[in-house]
Symmetry: D2
Subunit: 148 residues, 4 copies
């Protein structure tokens, strides 16, 4: 009988790469067929993610710092839980340095301009390719992301 | 203790609406937060669905007729099972009249032109609104689609 | 860029095996890590599946014949759609010969006796092993089930 | 057009309840139909969760302390990511006080004795009922868990 094992990554098992201005990204898992991607970010104050709509459900688990969606009042801080249903639309704004969040995401981010025109689509596959390329550019070995 | 019941729709419990040229659509279920949508189509020969990329996994269960993806050789007929992983891209072409398929879909269809530019995005919510509107236009009562 | 292909099984690409009294089973897909399993059955009148509780959501797409859950009045016939939420409990009874159903299942079947004691648990992995063994016993080559 | 909002719980929006010996539990979300349940625990050193098998995929996000599965060598600490595929079997052992973990779980825990006999099954619904009852016993108002 096939019995799978649980897969563990310690905090330092995969590297963070710079995504601009000192904010950082790590890709932990991509289930390609499912459209599931799990990343960890360390944002600097002022970092923004343009307005986007999710095509699947997303969860955010925040462990330090402070960030919010421009469209809502609440602030995500250490210990915050966030559930973003498919179809939700928002613009991420980081408030404090060293803001750390795990994003557990299904589907794609459909990026939107001020008039809700689509500007681009970002998904797990694109993010994985970007992560691999940034690691290579920094002279790091290809990280053992959990890809299937 | 909460014990949910299974929900059944018989073949005639929800109406089909015309989606152009006599091809038909029924929306059975939309789980908004999940981005899950389940529809049934009856296509006529010659019906096409423009090239699209899926952001989540999709399954197709065919019960009559014949249809294919332009990009592949195999033909879906009665009894065919089709699994479309997230990220797959294809163009639907119906070959025979009375081609019936259930599509069990996660995420959105990102429609693409010949150069792979995004032309539009279709999801469960949009399809549900369209279905409701077509029913109303045909003088039908609002169908009891399984929406949550 | 990685672009996956859709996977098709025609009606005769995978064999049915006898599961007792002439009722039949085919296993189409098992996503082990997800706990997803998709099968097709051809039941004979009188076939029963003992009372069970689902740990994940299940869908049933019926294409011929007639079957019901003992606990509910409605009858699944050709064209019926059935959604069984996680936590739902029921006992399958087949009413007519040549009753064909695709079951699209997440999680396990927890089988229960009349007093709701657990008698066994059935999942995709066990069903796949059973299917492989039955094929081998019938002298068939190992079927190319979509397993990942 | 229906546009859902993201739902946020700050660290103190839902209470922790004692699950024995000072270890704590908070239930954040239960999607009944999906079999999805998300909890946060604060374990004390020595806390154990009996051997169990998962019927769906599970993720663990650890933010402080140290814990492990008896069956594996690695230790989950602050910043650890853990993926437990459906079908995985293990016994949780907490090593340090103030071990905090979010568990993002699909399906049920099938609890097993030393001979792999089933002793009980725990799922989101049962855990939610337990959480509500413990809050009531402690004189707390019913917490606004995200239940659907």
């Amino acid at each position: 009988m096939y019995t799978p094992e649980a897969i563990h990554f310690g905090a330092d098992d995969l590297p963070f790469v710079d995504i601009g201005d000192g904010s950082m990204l790590k890709v932990l898992q991509v289930k390609r067929g499912e459209g599931l991607w799990i990343i960890e970010n360390i944002f600097k104050a002022g970092y923004e993610v343009e307005k986007h709509k999710h095509t699947g459900p997303v969860w955010g688990y925040t462990t330090s710092g402070a960030w919010k969606y421009k469209e809502y009042d609440y602030v995500n801080r250490a210990g915050s839980f966030l559930y973003e249903p498919a179809g939700s639309v928002h613009t991420l704004q980081c408030i404090e340095d060293d803001t750390r969040v795990w994003f557990h995401m299904h589907g794609s981010n459909i990026n939107l301009d001020a008039d809700d025109n689509i500007t681009s689509v970002v998904d797990g596959e694109l993010t994985l390719e970007f992560y691999y390329a940034m690691c290579e550019a920094q002279g790091l070995p290809r990280p053992r992301v959990l890809v299937e």
